[in-house]
């Protein structure tokens, strides 16, 4: 039956409900495009025959093939667009550098789209007043506490906090520190926020 391959693409994404990005299904897309080519060529032939030899009984078939073509176009576009939405979400979740496992699931054009999106977003954020703009991919949750529990992931030496006390950040040690002092180190991967 026509359009089956196209619907398979949709089903594949529909199965991944948590926003995961499956590998780019190049094979399947190619098959749908080939089917479209075949349908179009058959229609061209039939349209000519219908015109020149007045064979109007071909018209329902022509219309049917046209519907299949439209459905294929719609399914492919939906598949590609839904993937873009998932890729967009990756920027907000992982930051500007994607893990290699995810990059392998993206085709070259998707990577290009991602790079352009990153750039657009960065330009926009830089324009938000002040000298450096505002990084709105941070502060995703309302600040709840002044102090947080953190675990040290690497040796970082001595660390001074506001009231003058000095903490030794040794690997695997845990501390209860003011949140704003830790944010930078958490982002750099030196500290890890321990949620109990």
């Amino acid at each position: 039956m026509f359009c089956e391959k196209a619907v398979e693409l949709i089903r594949e994404l529909h199965r991944m409900t948590d926003g995961q990005l499956p590998a780019f299904n190049e094979d399947n897309i190619r098959q749908v495009l080939e089917e479209m080519k075949a349908l179009y060529e058959q229609n061209q032939t039939d349209v000519n025959e219908a015109k020149t030899e007045g064979r109007s009984e071909l018209i329902p078939t022509i219309k049917f093939r046209h519907c299949c073509l439209l459905r294929n176009q719609r399914c492919i576009t939906a598949y590609l667009y839904d993937r873009l939405l998932r890729i967009r979400a990756l920027r907000w979740e992982y930051g500007s550098v994607l893990p290699t496992t995810i990059r392998f699931h993206m085709c070259a054009e998707e990577l290009e789209w991602f790079n352009q999106y990153k750039k657009s977003l960065a330009t926009y954020m830089r324009s938000l007043g002040g000298d450096e703009g505002l990084d709105i991919t941070q502060d995703m949750k309302p600040p709840k506490s002044l102090y947080i529990e953190v675990r040290c992931l690497k040796d970082h030496g001595e660390f001074e906090i506001d009231d003058g006390t000095v903490i030794l950040l040794k690997k695997n040690s845990q501390h209860f520190l003011p949140r704003w002092k830790c944010e930078q180190l958490i982002r750099q991967g030196v500290l890890e926020h321990v949620m109990s």
């Binding site: 073509l69 873009l84 709105i136």
Partner: protein, 225 residues
Amino acid sequence: MADDELSDAGDLSGEDESQEDVLTPAELISRLEEAWLNEKFSPELLENKSELVECVMEQLTHMEENLQRVKKGDLKASVHRMEIDRIRFVLSSYLRSRLQKIEKFFPHVLEKEKSRAEGDPSFLSPEEFAFAKEYLANTEVYLKAVALKHMPPNLQSIDMLKAVPEPCLDSFVFLRVRERQENIMVEPETDEQREYVVDLEEGSQHLMRYRTIAPLVASGAVQLI
């Protein structure tokens, strides 16, 4: 909290002659929170408030500078730090809401901006407009390169306005009335009902279709909650 020594940014007039009154820091933050809630709960993109955003950014800078000068270890410092973080969260969340809606409805947002009359308020800041245009271009280039150019000649383009859904203006929203409104026309929900009018009393709260009260949100007569 925002009124005391750490937020002595004083009055915020001077840059904008278009603002009729001078906002205290507390009023500024209150306006930001109203804009934030409205944007969060509204199904469509609301009017752009870049003056407000600029003022809040300036306020944050002032507060950060003041915080540097406070004696270390003072308890006030941590509480004011918390306040700065809270304001920054609200501002970021507000801008994120807007960006999400711009991305979600990008062809419609751009169309609305294009067909806007000269004097009408803009829905997009210049930077948001640039972002939206880039998003459209990026997506179109991508779709063409991966699929559309390999399709039969008569199927090589997509009408984005038809392909991307519009915001659902009929979704229900909670609202609180700030200025009394009379004779609001409410559409019937079922075939047996007929349209009727309601008066919205100040301070009352309602659950209504967004479409019915959209102009009231824009004018500030109601607040979405």
